[in-house]
Point group: C2
């Protein structure tokens, strides 16, 4: 009997989940639930589509619901609402609001007896795990998270809101010299500007004032003002040809000391290089869907994060196989 | 109330544990248990030393016993024997015998109601975890483990057994071009020779036949015959000056594909660069000692590996703190 997964929300992340499920022989896609008119939606794999308003009618057929909405407005409402009826997973990534989201979801999931996993993906997610493991192993140390090279959708959107801009793509890039300095074990104090640069590709309207656009980007508070930013104006054709992907990635590095007099240094480095940010995030969600199902089968309930999941729950292999082949 | 840790066995690993405990404010070292005469042993930190034969007399004072013996003959006997009375941890690293060791230890620990964690360290240990996580996330892919640059003690010992050799140190070194090929996402098939080279530093007796020694090393089955090996003859002073440390490390890399037509590639890379192999292994053991204690406090028992431990158990931080600051 396969684990029956449903998807709520069919953007880039939902499509990624749809594809990822096919790589897991112990799972099947039950269907996609949408706020749009179900007939208007044409899934990549020919999956069934239903209205999100009718999802509770399918309660008995769904083992885990993967919620693929946005963190700003969708997930704070959807995750607690769906946790009343389903084991759920989301990729809530507003770091500052995780404690609040956790409490809201935990109350509902404990009452319903379901597992609700939040903030699953790569950051929060795999990067968080690596920060935790590395800090637990090397308490006397310092960790660094670098993002990129990759497309930041929030920053791209911010540029698009500037007058005269038709389209934009923003890449976050780690500063190589900062990385090298961290890897030496010096534990440097690095400013925002020293860690990342921002590179922007912009399609401007005909006749737009490019100098003004460039200045508006470079001085935008929070988004760009604290960084060394470069702006390139390109054509719509170049944008389509060279910047249509959503690559991303980054590194978590911890440098720490051991020994009687802290004479030995150690570097733990976790590095992701992703051709598709949403497809990788989706792949993490699907692995944790397996864990959510198994943990609920064992009687566990409530809100969980990646910190609460024993790794063995994620693997299609049995504990015996894992010990024999992977340990 | 601090977690009271005891150490069984006082070699490099035991010394590493002794130092690591001092970096963890929620722990204290209860004492060191040895097969040698307790008076003969002078711990780095002035810890108490007891005879291993009397360890059960200290049963009520020890929360977790970290067993720092060797995998060949010590741990197969010690870990099951001590699991009858204590929560225990070992770093059993004979990969092929892990299933057998697990079964032996599990039977005892289930009967005694204790937690017995086996095969904790970096390989098996952190590398195993990274193989599991990466495979669960990217089922359609291939993983590669590279070791080094670092000292292999087994290979160094093998050289020391050759006639005319006074001392030897062997470094295992990953082949850079193989690493680069893996990072491109090509998923190459790599032979033993293509993945690692071996570099040997040898102190020979006066008048020894160096040519014969070099040939014996390079043709030694299992240890060197399948590798490109270089041999350097050096003086005892050079050995002491340049090769007295025990650095090690390595990489686990998984390369996998996602997307409707597997059009996107992803690279997950975990990299360790360790100045002291035994001190890093000890640091992992100590973090898992915290987990063993907490899991047993919650009523769990039996044999566990790193795959069975939810990451939150490893951290000195509370679940609330972890969600607020690390997730």
């Amino acid at each position: 009997m396969k684990i029956r997964i449903a998807i709520a929300g069919y953007g880039n992340l939902g499509k990624g989940v749809e594809c990822a499920i096919r790589q897991n022989p112990d799972m099947e896609l039950y269907g996609i639930f949408t706020r749009r008119s179900p007939e208007s939606l044409k899934p990549l794999t020919g999956a069934s589509v239903y209205s999100i308003d009718e999802i509770t009618k399918h309660k008995e057929q769904i083992d885990v619901l993967i919620i693929c909405g946005g963190s700003a407005t969708d997930l704070p409402k959807q995750t607690p609402a769906f946790a009343e009826h389903f084991n759920v997973i989301d990729s809530f990534d507003t770091h500052a609001k995780i404690p609040e989201h956790f409490e809201n979801v935990d109350t509902v999931a404990k009452a319903s007896g379901k597992i609700a996993m939040i903030s699953v993906g790569w950051d929060p997610g795999m990067f968080s795990l690596n920060r935790l493991y590395a800090e637990a192993i090397l308490p006397n140390g310092k960790d660094y998270t670098f993002w990129g090279k990759g497309v930041s959708q929030g920053h791209s959107d911010a540029i698009r809101r500037i007058e005269g801009v038709l389209d934009a793509r923003q890449y976050t890039i780690p500063v190589e010299t900062a990385l090298e300095q961290v890897r030496t074990g010096e534990n440097p104090e690095l400013t925002t500007r020293q860690k990342h640069t921002r590179e922007c590709f912009v399609v401007a309207e005909d006749g737009a004032d490019k100098e003004r656009i460039e200045t508006e980007i470079k001085t935008m508070p929070n988004y760009f003002a604290d960084y060394d930013t470069t702006v390139h104006f390109i054509t719509a054709e170049e944008m389509q040809k060279d910047h249509s992907g959503l690559p991303h990635g980054g590194l978590v590095i911890r440098s720490g000391k051991t020994g009687l007099n802290l004479e030995h240094n150690h570097i733990i480095e976790y590095h992701l290089k992703l051709d598709s940010n949403p497809e990788f995030t989706a792949s993490v969600l699907v692995a944790y869907a397996r864990a959510a199902y198994r943990m609920n089968q064992e009687g566990m309930c409530g809100c969980k994060t990646v910190f609460d999941v024993a790794p063995a729950y994620l693997s299609v292999q049995s504990p015996e196989e894992l010990r024999a082949h992977i340990l």
